[in-house]
Amino acid sequence: MATEATDRIAARQRVEARRRQMEAPTTVRDDSEDEMIVSFPEFIFKEFIASVAMTVFLILVSIFLQAPLLGQANPGVTPNPSKAPWYFLGLQELLSRFPPLMAGVAFPTFVIVLMILVPFLDRNPSRRPSERKVAIILFGLYMAIVVALVIIGTFFRGHEFIWDWGWVLGNPQTCGGRSC
């Protein structure tokens, strides 16, 4: 059994080495000389530590931060402003600025398709940050815009989704009697 496994590992390494030669962009650091280690226990241990840290973090947050629960749903009373969950606030923000067909449909579809196509559109074979300045700047812009829209939607949109400096001036707007 053990020999079979060793054979398999050796075969896999040969295939990998060949593929690396054929396909790898020449600019990527060749890692075939890096130290090989058995993944158990070191790798597994790292994952274990990360999981435990995350669990402790979640429990602590959950002890001190109560998840929101407002009054029972009432279709007759529309809170003003009504906001989507934060990760969709970027979309809601776009909707408040552009025609709905563009902001609600064309734009998200375009972004999703673009994202899936990224590996094919990016013709640069290098993976070194210093050789991918354009890609990194474009991606940085994309992330910055998304984050900015979410922050604007969360903190700077008040009654009727109109711009509101409340958070800065010290009287945050409310969503149905609670801060949003």
Partner: protein
């Protein structure tokens, strides 16, 4: 006395047999034992037996893919607990949430954990995507796995969104009303799509049931299957580790 000693010995060897029935390989004192453990242990089998040290540097992956998966597991476990107490009907849902918060043992804690883990997962999946982009790890031969990842990001957002409705409070129905209103702007299909999502013209009992079914069965199943393929490809494409 001899009889007792023999009985104790027998019990010890029984415990030993139980332990070795579960853990077949003992402590990983040599590389060979460690490799065999990784090869034959179910929990470990998704990992490669051997890795290059440069692949598993935490400074490279920042553990973000792994943490996303771990949060998915936390959400499954805490979600199961919530399901014992929650009935997806507009006559029960809100009261069930209040009971969870104030009456059920650990209900409040588990609900909070489910909620915050969901937010955390949206963030870790985004950051994982950023890591993959910034290290150029989507390049050949990993284009397809990047595509699967994109769909996983969408599934994560939809899971969060469908869960948002379930407490049936003012926050949830109006957030979902706003969210599903966005769908209606699509040409031709828009109004139908919205009707299909809501099971009517406004957020109501049918919507709650639809969102519940998608939230606890449909989307987790799709997400899980995609993750299986995603991890399989990470192994088969070879981990990109190291710039």
């Amino acid at each position: 006395m001899r009889v007792i000693r023999a009985a104790v010995d027998e019990m010890w060897s029984m415990v030993g047999q139980m332990t070795s029935a579960v853990f077949r390989h003992g402590l990983p004192l040599t590389d060979k034992i460690a490799a065999r453990t990784a090869l034959t242990n179910f929990v470990l089998h998704i990992h490669p037996v051997r890795v290059r040290r440069s692949w598993i540097r935490m400074s490279y992956t920042l553990c973000l893919g792994g943490l996303s998966f771990f949060l998915f597991i936390v959400l499954t476990v805490t979600g199961l607990y919530l399901m014992f107490y929650y009935v997806p009907s507009i006559n029960h849902a809100y009261q069930d949430m209040r009971d969870l918060q104030f009456v059920v043992t650990f209900g409040g804690l588990i609900r909070n954990m489910h909620r915050w883990a969901a937010h955390a997962m949206v963030i870790t999946v985004w950051l994982h995507m950023a890591r993959v982009f910034l290290t150029g790890a989507y390049k050949k031969p990993r284009e397809f796995n990047w595509g699967i990842g994109t769909v996983l990001l969408l599934v994560t957002l939809l899971l969060s969104f469908t869960g948002y409705l379930l407490p049936w409070d003012q926050l949830s129905i109006w957030a979902v009303t706003v969210g599903t209103n966005m769908a209606k702007y699509a040409p031709i299909a828009g109004p139908y799509t919205r009707y299909l999502m809501l099971g009517g013209h406004a957020v109501g009992d049918a919507t709650l049931l639809r969102f519940y079914v998608m939230h606890v069965v449909g989307l987790p199943l799709v997400g899980f299957l995609l993750m299986v393929v995603h991890f399989w490809r990470v192994r088969k494409d070879g981990f990109s580790g190291g710039l």
